[in-house]
Symmetry: C2
Subunit: 549 residues, 2 copies
């Protein structure tokens, strides 16, 4: 991945002309391009790792070629891929690079690295794909004199496959596309496609409780991880590969979401299944967000949910239309929305605007089963006023499903604040939460003189509730980009926490959400996690500053 942004060079995402015009009109984006600084202008402190420790690490991982402290390696491990991370990278200010990046080859070498780091009081930051958007891979040395990134790039591959039991064991560092490629050879799939899919790893998904775009159908990563192996400073923590157990508290669930603060997940055993032969996407227009959430709730509670379910709110629907690079795909939606004109309240000056919401439903499977499920879903949606828009919008979405992260670089280059955040709550509280977070973000950014676009979609369905995924954009506040972002993030997080929702549905806690964890799990919940950490990581070398306050 390129050091200052998302993806690799040559895979840029130029902003469509209509989108640029819209952002200029609504946010005041001035269109000037600001390129990232040059790599050689990034200032880095000298590596603080002492020679003795460095030598021991090299011995543990098979040589100095696996203990790197060259400039590019350190910078590519200096941050994740959150908006504040990208701000700091692009401007080369406020960066802390690890003192070295260590690449163990397997579980045992990982354990050896932890032992050396514990002895020498070196912080260890586990690093899978480095795609954290919550500061999860920040090389924070905590109370220690140095910090290494422990990069899992060598712990890759399919270690075991049991097709009869539909179980596949992967090295933690295996990247998303490699997971799928290795499974495809056996006609199998994991079905886990977070937006970071191209650059994130199986172990990283487990460590952060990832959810993928098809998790409504395939399940979240916590439902797909059957067993885990982890190295900790106090030894190995491995759970048995059994389908279910009543043998006490589930330790698998203690490692899932532990974000490298307890140890390093080195291997994950995943539930896999036969790869679907067909995928079919349907799009529908709905009269509004409330009608849409009712329709999706009914689908899910009737056992009729699709594998992929997205419902954009009015604002996201309007902006998707405006930003669409293939207008043909959305012509029907435009007609629908133009026909439904509503009075828009709030902070902008348009008394009337097109109204309506779009939902995309994706179905995987064999043709007969897909046809049956689509028909059933259609019957339910129609009761809620849905109008079918055909396959084009869904196909367009599916084609560009990992595209959003690329677009962010382009927007930041044009001086636009762009970030996403997500939460989940019960169906009963969903509309109130939607309103509260939209209002909090809008108010926080308007108060700084940078009025925002705030859009949202329902991204995952559960019988008891759903997740909301917000995207917000505003003109950057020159010279105060970080403070501006912090104000928006604070407002949204407070709104989420006050509403009794979860501070994160799939981005994890990291550094950025840590202030809200106590409100969510209570002081005794924090204390229980701290007690586990103190036992398995007694010198607190594992990923300082993340997850726990």
């Amino acid at each position: 991945m390129r050091w200052w942004g998302w993806g690799v060079d040559g895979h840029d995402a130029p902003l469509p002309r209509a989108a640029a015009a819209l952002l200029r009109d609504e946010l005041g984006m001035d269109g000037a391009h600001a390129a990232p600084v040059a790599l050689d202008r990034v200032e880095l402190a000298e590596p603080a790792l002492q020679a003795a420790a460095r030598a021991q690490l090299a011995t543990a991982v098979g040589g100095y070629e696996h203990v790197r402290d060259d400039r590019l390696t350190r910078i590519t491990h200096a941050a994740g891929r959150s908006y504040p991370d990208l701000l700091r990278l692009r401007s080369a200010t406020g960066l802390t690079a690890p003192d070295a990046v260590v690449y163990p080859a397997d579980h045992d070498e990982t354990a050896a690295v932890l032992a050396i780091c514990a002895k020498h009081a070196i912080a260890v930051v586990p690093f899978g794909g480095g795609t954290s958007v919550v500061g999860g891979v920040e090389p924070d040395s905590g109370p220690h004199h140095a910090a290494i990134s422990l990069d899992l790039a060598r712990l890759t591959g399919l270690h075991a496959l049991d097709t009869r039991s539909q179980l596949a064991t992967f090295g933690a560092g295996t990247l998303g596309p490699q997971v799928e490629r290795l499974l495809h050879e056996h006609g199998l799939t994991l079905g886990h496609f977070p937006q970071s899919f191209e650059f994130s790893t199986a172990g990283g998904w487990a460590a952060t409780r990832s959810a993928g775009q098809a998790s409504t159908g395939y399940g979240r990563i916590d439902e797909l991880v059957v067993a885990l192996r982890a190295a900790t400073p106090s030894g190995e923590l491995t759970t048995r590969t059994v389908p279910a157990s009543a043998a006490g508290p589930d330790l698998r669930e203690l490692l899932l979401g532990s974000e490298g603060t307890l140890g390093v997940i080195t291997e994950v055993t995943l539930r896999v299944r036969p790869r679907a032969r067909h995928h079919r996407y349907d799009a529908y227009a709905l009269p509004g967000f409330a009608a849409g959430t009712n329709a999706l709730r009914e689908l899910e509670q009737a056992g009729a949910a699709p594998d992929v379910a997205r419902l954009s709110d009015e604002e996201e629907t309007r902006l998707s239309l405006a930003l669409a690079s293939r207008p043909a795909a959305t012509r029907l939606l435009r007609t629908y929305m133009d026909a439904r004109v509503r009075h828009a309240g709030g902070h902008r000056d348009r008394p009337h605007r097109p109204a309506g919401c779009m939902t995309i439903l994706g179905f995987d499977g064999d043709a007969t089963e897909i046809a049956r499920r689509r028909a059933r879903a259609r019957r339910i949606l129609r009761r809620h006023g849905a109008v079918a828009l055909g396959p084009a919008p869904g196909a367009t979405w599916a084609k560009s499903r990992f595209h959003g992260a690329y677009l962010r670089d382009e927007l930041m280059g044009r001086g636009v604040l762009v970030d996403t955040l997500e939460t989940a709550t019960t169906w009963t509280d969903l509309d109130g939460l939607h309103h509260a977070v939209r209002w909090a973000l809008g108010a926080a950014l308007a108060a700084r003189g940078t009025p925002a676009m705030v859009m949202c979609h329902v991204s995952h369905l559960y019988p008891t509730g759903a997740s909301l995924y917000f995207t917000f954009l505003a003109r950057q506040e020159p010279g105060a980009q970080l403070a501006q972002w912090r104000a928006a993030k604070l407002a949204a997080s407070e709104a989420i926490s006050a509403a009794g929702a979860t501070i994160t549905h799939h981005h994890a806690i990291g550094r950025d959400h840590a202030p809200w964890l106590e409100a969510e799990v209570g002081p005794l919940g924090i204390a229980a996690l701290q007690a586990v950490k103190a036992r398995v990581d007694p010198t607190a070398i594992m990923n300082p500053g993340k997850l726990l306050p």
Copy 2:
């Protein structure tokens, strides 16, 4: 529940004549009846609770009527309902009764009781329905001078209902039938039916990670508990009512299966759903257990599993036939089995016996959906050689689904050792595990001169594996009943543990499985749990001797 056995008086389960004959022939059961000793012959130590502590407890729970130490109350809290528990109760030997039984009215009173017990060094044994079959409610005072049973009988009822989000919050002490009755008033069901259903509680299910007879369709209790509230000696532990979260390790999963060793679950919020209008059971005969497990695996992995799935092995099928009290229901099966005669190896002298396995599939829902699912299941089963037996065997099973526990009293009265144990493993390891446990139980009991019947059924299906539920019977060894049982239990547990399976799929750990937990979760897994316990229960008053070594 009557103090020496299962259920209430007047609900006896007399042994059918054919069954008595079979047990006489195959086990050497002599038919003599041994009644339990009279209640007034049970010897109990004087209550050790000091007057000051007793007075404080009475104040905390609203009066002395909620701090009981009468003889019957103490005896009914002296043991769970395992085979060794019932041995000790019937013979009135080796019993330890709690020094008092305390009945708080709500969460706050529960917290107050824990505070008083922590101050006075009194062990606390949470007690829901008292149906543990693993020694989970044993009033062990551990290092303390006294032990109370904390009975949750007053923490009952439906505290909150959110029909839109399909969430219902119950007091932890609410009994199974009451849970369903309260939900039925709203057209809802939980769908959780462990064999102990009539006498076990919502909080007990959560504390022990219970699975019910319909868990293949409705999910295990860990999938149905959305949120929990618990009182611990260090304060409250409450999880948020959200459908899913990526906010760190899942603390809900730390309380599930904690078996009262961390605190007292006082309230559970459960996922509920509309009550099915129809239930339909189908039975099939299959050529053998391996064919049966293949068929069930294919059903489950194709997403075509029923809500209830049971597959009896050859021995359980044979004995079900012999013990059937309604022969008409099994006539077809008998014909099938007689037609398939196989050579029986092993330790008994019958060169040939009827062969085949029976499976029962139960479907809940509306009539159309049930018809579709039944047809799909039938197609798959037929590919594995299944022959349809019609609805009668399933209906018979459903009618007597909670009956097994009653029958145990009758068998013990006739000098028969009878116990069950359960485990789970992957599909790949299932047949090997089945063989290993059958062999271990058979050999251990044969070695003591009491040859056994060992039967088994698959009771819950998962995409990656299934659970096995074993029942074993033998003539009791006079004067050494406990030693005889221990030998069998040890042999089976060692076989399960050595096979890499879980020591318990739904009976929990309690006292009886505690020696095998470390093999399952590793020494560091134990240490992590101990660290949590030390933090939330620093004086170790919570349920000593259970779960952790």
